[in-house]
Amino acid sequence: MSTAAAGARTDWDIPEYAGEHHQELSFLRRYVFSTDHKVIAVQFLVMSLVFLALGGFLALMMRWQLGFPGQPMPGGSVLPESMAPGGIILPEFYNSLVTMHGTFMIFFAIMPLLVGVFGNLLIPLQIGAPDMAFPKLNMASFWLAVPAGFIMLTSFWVEGGAAGAGWTSYAPLSASGDYTGVYLGQQLWLLSLFILGFSSIAGAVNYITTVVNMRAPGLTWFRLPLTVWALFITAILVLLAMPILAGALIMLLSDQTLGTTFFLPELGGEPLLWQHLFWFFGHPEVYILILPAFGIVSEVLANGARKPVFGYHAMVLAIAAIAFLGWIVWGHHMFMSGMNPVLGTTFMVTTLVIAVPSAIKVFNWLGTLWKGNIHFHVPFLHAAAFVSLFIIGGLSGIFMAAAPVDIHIHDTYFIVAHLHYVLFGGSLFAIFAGITFWFPKMFGRMMNTLWNRVHFVGTFLCYNLVFFPMHGLGIEGMMRRLYDPTQYGWLAELQPWNVFITYAVFGLVTFQVVFFVNFFLSIWTGRKAEANPWRANSLEWSVPSPPPHGNFMAMPTVYRGPYEYSTPDGEEDFILQSASPRESERPPSDGTRSRAALNEEEST
């Protein structure tokens, strides 16, 4: 630090604003072992996009097996004999595919995309801070996530293959390799998630401390953008839920390696204890995967509709209510586990209560759009798709929350459809909204709008073609994690649907390639972005794209809330949170497009 001279040393390095320091960092310090939250956000983005692609690739292989069971996969002969001899997927390998698809998507794609990328990018920028409270801890958080992902990936090539007990790794199936034939792979799975837990908790400590302590003057709790609120509450969930998983992982790992007997019934253990601990972590985890998406969507919808978010306080309270209720509903994953039925009823009631704050959020989103002057930019399209798909996912959730209905559809393709409607239709569409919205802030360039729209339309169509029919398959009784549906007569009749879904998946994957190519090309060849391309209010849009190291030249002051759109006075229909009341009569600062210019551009 430049302040290492005598007298200025502090116990911890406090991040500095851009105007307060001037130092050149080496390439390694700037891009690899960076402590700058924006660089770490981009690192998380690249890492999780790689794992997203990988998870999608695993799903593609699963879909091939389901659509064309027993037929050699095109190009599958490159896989080793232990996975797919002659390109035909082995049942054991299919188990690994199911498990690792879920694990990669949840822990290494959606979670780092929402929490790692947007948490890192938005929290300091939107609260007017120069960086996170603990920049080095932030760096450690990323560099723990990478080896965790690497360990998870390498487990495919160890003896016995990767973990095959499902992403939930229910004991005793996962507690002894004798059941699945997977020994080291399951242990690496546990180890990898344990390391990832450290990464997540380090991030959560950082986010909470930063939001509490490093807000700019004037940025009161109820002037925070909803993204910050959502990420803050998510960080609390991560902080309190991940250690529960860590404890459970340790017990399972010691059952595997040290001969203990926590979850092994033949030696006196309790397999149900794993389910309870896993879902006590797992249900807050579900909200970790959706709450930041709520925040992103609120932000983008208000921007597109050019209106304040309808019911800001209700939105905040709904997020908090969902986060709290998330701790007392975990048993609804276990209706079929042989749990005490009285307890099952309790969990059913608490689960149904969650519909209330969720519905409040949906109605508020619709209220935000109502009579808005809507600009259908690409982030808005994704956010609107989020709302519609999340409604479908939420409604199918109510089916499974009711224990009597769940008994029929538990562990069928109905749950597969439901969870993809909230995790893909929900979280991933919000992630697309977020990436396209904040891409200029991350890279200083705009993504190509035309190809972005192609990606949106194609994804939305193919997505529904893939996942909507799964509801029907589930009700007809097609089991989740099933290797070969044609082995049952009643499912063999439905095989055309599986073939159809597999073809739709080919389309879905193709459109994701469009996105990936557009994303990486735009980083270098996109049109240069101005400071505030979406004419939004929050603090990150008051600084250049991308912001300099230290973000703001000096500590900004905040005068108003984040959603002051359609302000009646002034030439523009928005007003930056940091614009002083005395400056509000001035024309917008340079680097901002006028309304006329934006309308002209949209019409082309």
Binding site: R9, W12, F134, V205, T209, L239, I250, M251
Partner: protein
């Protein structure tokens, strides 16, 4: 330079809880530690509740008097730690080093006694491995005992290392009544570990 220093000082009192980042950060981290020990101790409570026949009466297998003394050692280490903090809060450099050293000695003693206890327990057939379990009670007893006390011992050992690092910095004269964040943060962690042991000792050895 004086400008930069002034900025640093003002930024410590930004909107928020009115406590500096490192202290808030360590508190937040301790909340996650609470949940971690909840999962371990909770598993023990639930398993014991479900299978009482697998657990022996207090003192039947475990050495309660020895561990009571060990608990007392850990409580003493907590008071020496807080004394170290009180010393540096009054710019008493010698006192800081003296009390830190005492804390390290007491903490190491605790870990040493625990290792001694482990060796004897394993000799009596009280092991974590279910198929080799030969003591009173059942294999769940050994599994849960070593899980909880082992992870607590790991935390104490890490705390001793952190204290050694703080002592090293204290020897270099890095702390003063204006700069004692490091002492306070490690102190908070140390007291938390003590607090967990108070609960563990009761639940594992006495109930």
């Amino acid at each position: 330079m004086s400008h930069a220093a002034a900025v640093h000082e003002t930024r410590r009192f930004m909107p928020g809880f009115g406590i500096y980042n490192a202290k808030l950060g360590i508190w937040v981290f301790l909340l996650s530690e609470v949940m971690f020990f909840t999962s371990l101790i909770g598993a023990y409570i639930i398993l014991r509740f479900a299978h009482p026949e697998q657990f022996a009466a207090p003192g039947a297998v475990l050495n309660v008097p020895l561990t009571a003394i060990n608990t007392f050692v850990l409580i003493c280490s907590s008071v020496t730690m807080v004394k170290a903090y009180a010393a540096i809060a009054q710019d008493d450099q010698a006192g800081l080093k003296r009390w830190l050293l005492a804390t390290i000695v007491l903490g190491s003693t605790f870990v040493g006694v625990q290792v001694y206890e482990y060796i004897h327990l394993v000799g009596d057939g009280f092991v974590a491995n279910a198929s080799a379990y030969a003591a009173e009670g059942g294999p769940l007893y050994g599994s849960t005992f070593y899980l909880m006390t082992g992870f607590h011992g790991l935390h104490v050992s890490l705390g001793v290392l952190a204290l050694a690092w703080i002592l090293l910095r204290a020897m270099r004269g890095e702390f003063s009544s204006k700069r004692l964040g490091g002492v306070e943060a490690v102190g908070l962690y140390w007291h938390f570990v003590d607090l967990v042991w108070i609960v563990l000792f009761t639940i594992v050895y006495l109930i």
